[in-house]
């Protein structure tokens, strides 16, 4: 006989008891490992999706509204010796009119590509003819089309000059084309292509790049470059950026160096009309004596009663020459002839034509009236007064018609009566002489002012000059071009690469920690399984008290005996853990199945594939083993304190019960109960009611304290019942109560298990909110708005004004009743709970804070400290010491999607390639703005000046008009004003966002409920064990006249009150804990479903006890009279 053999024999002999222990360990390991495997599967699936959407793309240059030569792709490919694909990416709509009911898709990513794009997909290159389009599967499904069908594609023709810029066109010129579907591509065929980290497939349509570029008048242009390479061939970002620096040309920044031979001038112009600051800096640095030009269109130049309508006014200035400047190529003569160096800010030089028209003389005052552009293209007509300094002849430099930039709607027009600028002009004011001037001199400026004054009046976020001029000399063009390329970082004009692959992998790697979520969701079931295992293990040891006594009598030390039992336990836990591996695979597959079907809301429709990392098995098994062995070790430590004789005689329990005479333990329980209850009360009074932000935490803390108080009270009651010697047995119930105290540990374990379980199930259940309760209130998640709209193409006008609506084609009288808060949108990752990836750069919403402040819209969970009484929305305008941009986000977004806290920052790269930080300064409460960061419109425009118009709209509608207004918006569809507007009821949006939370709550309740079932099975085990141990006692009771019914009743009384006490303690504590949630908007306890769950627990508890009692009293008890 060896120690090992003894263990083996023990395992074999007690296999029934051990089977339970092993199954307990297996169950806890299966669920624990299963949670890790679910995490693996989600990460793997997201990673696969990330790679599927990028193909072999590693870096991307995303120009958005900036267009560069598509040839740049080939040049970079040569330089980098890798694949570079040019893409023209536009937002568009697709319509299938062939179905009975027109099917349409608004948010379509239209991609002009050539075969280089498909090479990145590691598939066969696809050539798309001019009349063909390729769709991805979800888009085809939405449009209900298949290969060979025809669809209508509509995209807006992009303009180089932002629609928000002064003098830009105020209307979209969109193109519409009927196309035949060449093929429909699957996810594996690059159908998922997209740069945003989102598990939901975008709606993609591919067309021929040359065709699309030509149709939108951007011939040979693209706005996206994809740099790819084989998986293992890493292309450093710096290398790509260096190559770009070497390859880029001025045309890639929409810049042009024009030689004006007649004027002997070399002029730097931009297709975007205004020259941005970095370009101006580089241009001036290229030649410090360059001449800066800002030309503008004015509505009127008036002198007294006489007025000249619609004229061009220029300003010219040579920047101060730095002392070390050696070159001076500026057309000094031109400068000197027109604007003298001592020109004052209020002086104006007019040409002879204007002087004659106004009959003005030197010294007269003239008023310049012009439009400046406010937000939403609100035109503000302003007037500035000038004194005529000089009148110059309309010759030579003063007759330079090239000073006027190519203002859209003006420059290319033959007759000025055909002008169609982006501002309202009164054609009737144009006189024949004005037409003559235009015929003769075109946009030749009629007046000149100082540049400083001009910039004060007309500089905007798109630039402060319209041209930079150099004196035309030999070789100057090449020299300036080279200098510009050297001095200007292409990033400053939006030409920079982003490590999209690295970001995508990071986003999927840092995706929502599903393993932790599932560990959390399964926590109670794991705890219950372990508790069950512990109970079985204890019972196994208690069953072998006499064996322990015998071993001790034979000279085994207590430590040796413990080792023996622990080794048995380790073997059992090990076997259980191995069994748990198989269980974990089944559990994971079951959970994935549920996530794909009933719980789809939890992962927003993402497709999850089973995947297991070996390390997860190792961790799961090791953790399961550790936890199980720890539970056994704790159990063993509590055992074996009895004397050998007691163990051998089996009188250990009798003696242990007699040691409970002192009421100390009961008193301690009562004192602890009173103290924790008082602490709970104090917590509520001093913390919970004092500060609103701490209310939830205080109530939850108070609830938890009450749970502890209930446990302590139970401990006291049980101790008292076990220790009392004063009260006589007066009834069966009284007797049963006394009996419950005899195994205080077990009874308490049952109460604790049920109390914790019901606390969790109830607390979680009570957190179920009705997201639509109070939804019409301003402080609710809808902000009190009725509709939420998002457009594919930007809205340039103020929809609150009839004129704005008219320009958008919204002419329904119902729309006169609406009030709209318009928001700008900078596309980025969806940071709502609907995205499982970790958003790297969430999309930004630019809002005018005062608009929401005035409405006191939405509620905040928390904000960083601002000025007292400051409306939280105004925090968005409060400057940060580190120049970070203050931002709000939904509380859920901050906590779950971003894993951030208030005060944390996120890094963004702005339009000019510079990094800036966005600081979270407020957490919105369950709002429809979830998924985006909200910043001030001003900040958004500073960082992304090219962003045009508004794309997100919060709309106030009188409730009866909701449907009429929605229909009025939707009537735009299919018209030439179709901007791809999606109108959603805010309540629907809120409900959709809440679905995930609701699904998680369901999952928690279900898994918690399963845990409770295990807990109740534990209760049944306790009852059975109690009964089996007391067979002698029960037999005696039978002998003294108790019939089976009385015995069953006695056992039921003994255990039912444990069930009821446990459930009641949990529910009462949970009620306190969830009080803030209940009181909050939308919070209302779903009494019916919770009552059902509790009733199920109660009934199953009672049933188990009844079954155990019946079983115990059915068998022959008489033997026990002699063999206790």
């Amino acid at each position: 006989m060896t120690f090992g053999k003894l263990i083996f024999q023990n395992l074999r002999y007690y296999w029934r008891t051990h089977l339970g222990v092993m199954l307990g360990a297996a169950l806890s390991t299966a669920i624990l490992t299963g949670a890790l495997l679910i995490g693996d599967s989600v990460s793997y699936s997201l990673n696969r999706q990330a790679l599927a959407r990028l193909g072999e793309t590693q870096l991307a240059l995303v120009g958005q509204d900036r267009f560069f030569r598509s040839k740049l792709a080939g040049e970079l490919a040569d330089k980098l010796q890798t694949a570079v694909a040019p893409v023209l990416q536009l937002n568009g709509l697709l319509i299938n009119r062939d179905t009975e009911k027109t099917a349409r898709s608004n948010q379509v990513q239209v991609l002009g590509v050539d075969k280089r794009f498909w090479e990145l997909a590691d598939g066969k290159p696809i050539t798309i003819d001019n009349d063909q389009v390729i769709l991805n599967e979800p888009l085809a499904a939405q449009l209900k089309v298949e290969a060979g069908d025809q669809v209508r594609l509509r995209v807006a023709r992009p303009e180089l000059l932002s629609r928000d810029a002064p003098l830009s066109l105020d209307r979209d010129i969109s193109i519409e084309q009927r196309l035949t579907i060449k093929t429909i591509v699957s996810e594996e065929q690059f159908g998922r292509f997209g740069l945003q980290a989102d598990q939901v497939m975008p709606m993609n349509a591919w067309v021929s790049l040359p065709w699309l570029a030509e149709r939108v008048e951007l011939k040979e242009k693209a706005n996206m470059l994809l740099v790819g390479g084989e998986e293992l061939k890493n292309i450093p970002l710096e290398a790509a950026q260096t190559a770009l620096q070497q390859c880029w040309q001025l045309a890639d920044a929409s810049l042009e160096l024009r030689q004006l031979k007649q004027q002997k001038i070399l002029e730097l112009r931009s297709g975007r009309i205004f020259l941005e600051e970095p370009i101006v800096e580089a241009a001036v640095k290229a030649d410090p004596s360059a001449l800066e030009v800002l030309t503008y269109f004015v509505n009127e130049i008036r002198l007294g009663e006489r007025a000249t309508p619609y004229s061009i006014v220029s300003s010219l200035r040579r920047p101060p020459t730095p002392p070390d400047a050696t070159t001076a190529t500026a057309p000094a003569s031109t400068f000197n002839q027109i604007v003298p160096s001592d020109m004052r800010d209020d002086e104006i030089i007019v040409n002879q034509w204007l002087a004659d028209d106004l009959q003005g003389r030197v010294g007269d005052s003239v008023d310049l009236t012009y439009f400046v552009f406010g937000p939403m293209r609100r035109l503000q007509e302003q007037t500035s007064r000038f004194r005529i300094r000089a009148i110059i002849p309309l010759t030579q430099a003063a007759a330079d018609r090239e000073l006027m930039p190519d203002f859209p709607g003006l420059a290319q027009v033959e007759n000025c009566r055909d002008w169609k600028p982006g501002i309202d002009i009164d054609i009737g004011r144009i006189r024949p002489k004005d037409e003559d001037y235009w015929d003769l001199y075109r946009g030749t400026p009629k007046a000149f002012i100082s540049l400083r004054t001009a910039q004060k009046m007309w500089a905007n976020r798109f630039g402060n000059l319209t041209a930079v001029r150099y004196s035309l000399t030999d070789g100057i063009k090449d020299r300036i071009e080279q200098a510009l390329k050297t001095n200007l970082n292409p990033a400053a004009v939006g030409l920079f690469f982003q490590p999209v692959r690295q970001r995508a992998l990071t986003a999927s790697r840092q995706a929502q920690d599903m393993e932790w979520i599932f560990l959390g969701l399964s926590f109670f079931i794991i705890a219950a399984a372990l508790g069950l295992m512990g109970l079985l293990f204890v019972f196994g040891i208690e069953q072998r008290h006499k064996e322990i006594g015998a071993l001790l009598a034979m000279g085994f030390t207590r430590q040796k005996v413990r080792q023996l039992f622990l080794l048995e336990g380790i073997i059992l836990a090990g076997l259980g853990a191995l069994l748990g591996i198989a269980g974990s695979i089944i559990y994971t597959r079951l959970m994935i199945y549920c996530l794909s079907t009933a719980w789809q809301g939890a992962i927003s429709g993402a497709r999850i594939n089973y995947h297991a990392d070996n390390i997860s098995f190792i961790i799961g098994v090791a953790a399961g083993l550790c936890v199980a062995v720890s539970a056994m070790w704790i159990t063993l430590r509590r055992q074996g304190r009895q004397q050998v004789r007691q163990l051998l005689e089996g009188t250990a329990e009798l003696l242990s019960l007699s040691g409970r005479r002192t009421p100390g333990k009961a008193r301690a329980g009562y004192v602890l109960a009173a103290a924790t209850a008082a602490a709970a009360l104090l917590l509520l009074i001093f913390t919970g009611l004092g500060n609103k932000q701490h209310t939830a935490a205080a109530f939850f803390g108070a609830g938890a304290l009450l749970l502890i108080a209930a446990m302590a009270l139970s401990h006291g009651i049980l101790s008292q019942s076990a220790g009392t010697t004063d009260n006589l047995l007066v009834s069966l119930a009284n007797f049963a109560f006394r009996n419950a105290g005899r195994r205080r540990g077990r009874s308490l374990a049952v109460i604790a298990l049920l109390a914790c379980g019901s606390f969790l199930v109830f607390a979680v259940g009570a957190n179920r909110r009705n997201p639509l309760a109070h939804a019409q209130q301003r402080r609710s998640g809808t902000g009190g708005f009725t509709l939420l709209a998002e457009s594919t193409l930007p809205v340039l006008h103020d929809l609150n004004l009839e004129e704005g609506r008219r320009k958008m084609g919204l002419i329904s009288p119902d729309l006169a009743l609406i009030k709209v808060v318009q928001m700008r949108l900078r596309q980025g990752d969806d940071a709502s709970c609907l995205n499982l990836n970790r958003p790297q750069t969430p999309r930004l919403l630019g809002v005018q804070p005062q608009e929401l402040a005035a409405r006191e819209a939405f509620d905040f969970v928390k904000t960083i400290e601002g000025k007292p009484d400051l409306n939280p929305w105004l925090l968005l305008k409060q400057p940060q010491t580190d120049h970070a941009v203050p931002a709000f986000a939904d509380d859920t977004t901050i906590e779950w999607a971003l894993d951030k806290r208030l005060g944390d920052t996120l890094s963004y790269i702005n339009e000019r390639g510079r990094t800036f930080n966005v600081r979270l300064v407020g957490a919105l409460k369950n709002s429809i703005l979830q998924g985006s960061l909200v910043i001030s419109e001003e900040a958004l425009m500073q960082q992304y000046p090219s962003e045009q118009g508004y794309r997100v709209f919060l709309i106030d509608v009188p409730p009866p008009k909701t449907e009429a207004v929605t229909q009025a918006f939707l009537r735009l569809q299919g018209t030439n004003r179709d901007i791809g507007l999606r109108v959603t009821k805010t309540q629907d949006r809120l409900a959709a966002l809440y679905e995930m939370q609701s699904t998680y709550l369901t999952m928690f309740q279900l898994l918690g409920g399963l845990g409770m079932m295990l807990g109740i099975a534990g209760l049944a085990l306790v009852v059975l064990r109690n009964v089996m141990e007391r067979r002698g006692e029960l037999a005696m009771l039978r002998a003294v006249g108790f019939n089976k019914g009385s015995l069953t009743r006695l056992l039921l009384y003994e255990h039912w009150w444990l069930v009821i006490l446990g459930l009641a303690a949990g529910v009462v504590a949970a009620l306190v804990a969830v009080m803030p949630a209940v009181r909050s908007a939308g919070g209302e306890i779903p009494f019916a479903s919770l009552a059902l769950i509790l009733a199920a627990m109660l009934i199953s508890g009672i049933l188990w006890v009844w079954l155990a009692a019946r079983l115990a009293t059915q068998g022959p008890l008489l033997d026990a009279l002699r063999h206790e």
């Binding site: 006589l728 009834s731 008489l1118």
Partner: protein, 233 residues
């Protein structure tokens, strides 16, 4: 004792246990016929496994004979259901076991009063409590009323068990090896106590034992031999 009023009557009682594998087992009790009068004391002796306890269980309505009839106070036990048998055990029979089967969680007095829990009459129970106190004082445990069984000696525990058996004023007191777990002194004390109580309470006493010293203290001594009940020689 034949003249005494007949309390217990066993007529041609046989007992055979069912074997787990279905095979036939030998009869433990064979054709037992026994009459016991009220107030009588009787000892049944026999070797281990002779069927003493089986006989006692049948007498005490804890088990049924395979054949034959058992009458207690004129009632045929075979005709009674479980509820009625339980009532008889509670009101007319008192049991003392080799192991005391006291409840560790209850005091001495409470243990004694456990059989009274089935009595619905509160006044009666009050009286029974007084009886319990008196009986405990009678057996020398008046100062141990609120002790727990774990705080008592083996002899004391068994005395508590005796009082518990007598609490409902049974007509028949059955003792199964009552001194089996006691030392010689305690054993003698308990035997004396049983005999005294037999007289004082006018309760019929049947003791199953293999201790002759105990058996000889009874009015009659019978022996179970080969399943049959014979007069002890």
């Amino acid at each position: 004792m034949a003249e005494a009023q007949k309390l217990l009557e066993l007529v041609n009682v046989f007992k055979r246990y069912d074997s787990p594998d279905g095979t036939e087992t030998p009869e433990v009790l064979k054709d037992i016929t026994l009459h016991v009068g009220a107030g009588e004391s009787l000892a049944v002796v026999g070797a281990s496994g002779s069927g003493k306890s089986t006989l006692l269980n049948i007498i005490g309505a804890l088990d049924h004979p395979s054949r034959g009839r058992v009458h207690l106070d004129g009632k045929d036990l075979a005709r009674l259901d479980d509820k009625q048998l339980s009532q008889i055990r509670n009101e007319q029979i008192g049991f003392i076991f080799q192991l005391h089967h006291l409840l560790g969680q209850c005091t001495v007095l409470e243990n004694v009063l456990v059989p009274t829990l089935l009595n619905q009459d509160a006044d009666a129970r009050k009286q029974l409590e007084q009886r319990g106190r008196r009986l405990l004082a009678r057996v020398g445990l008046e100062k141990r009323l609120s002790y727990r069984p774990g705080q008592l000696s083996g002899g004391e525990r068994q005395r508590v068990a005796v009082v518990r058996a007598l609490i409902n004023k049974p007509k028949l007191l059955l003792a199964d090896e009552p001194t089996g777990s006691l030392d010689a002194a305690a054993s003698e004390n308990l035997t004396l106590l049983l005999v005294e109580l037999n007289l004082e309470e006018n309760v019929t006493l049947i003791v199953v034992t293999h201790a002759l010293k105990v058996a000889r203290c009874m009015n009659r001594v019978l022996e179970l031999r080969d399943g049959k009940l014979v007069i002890f020689a």
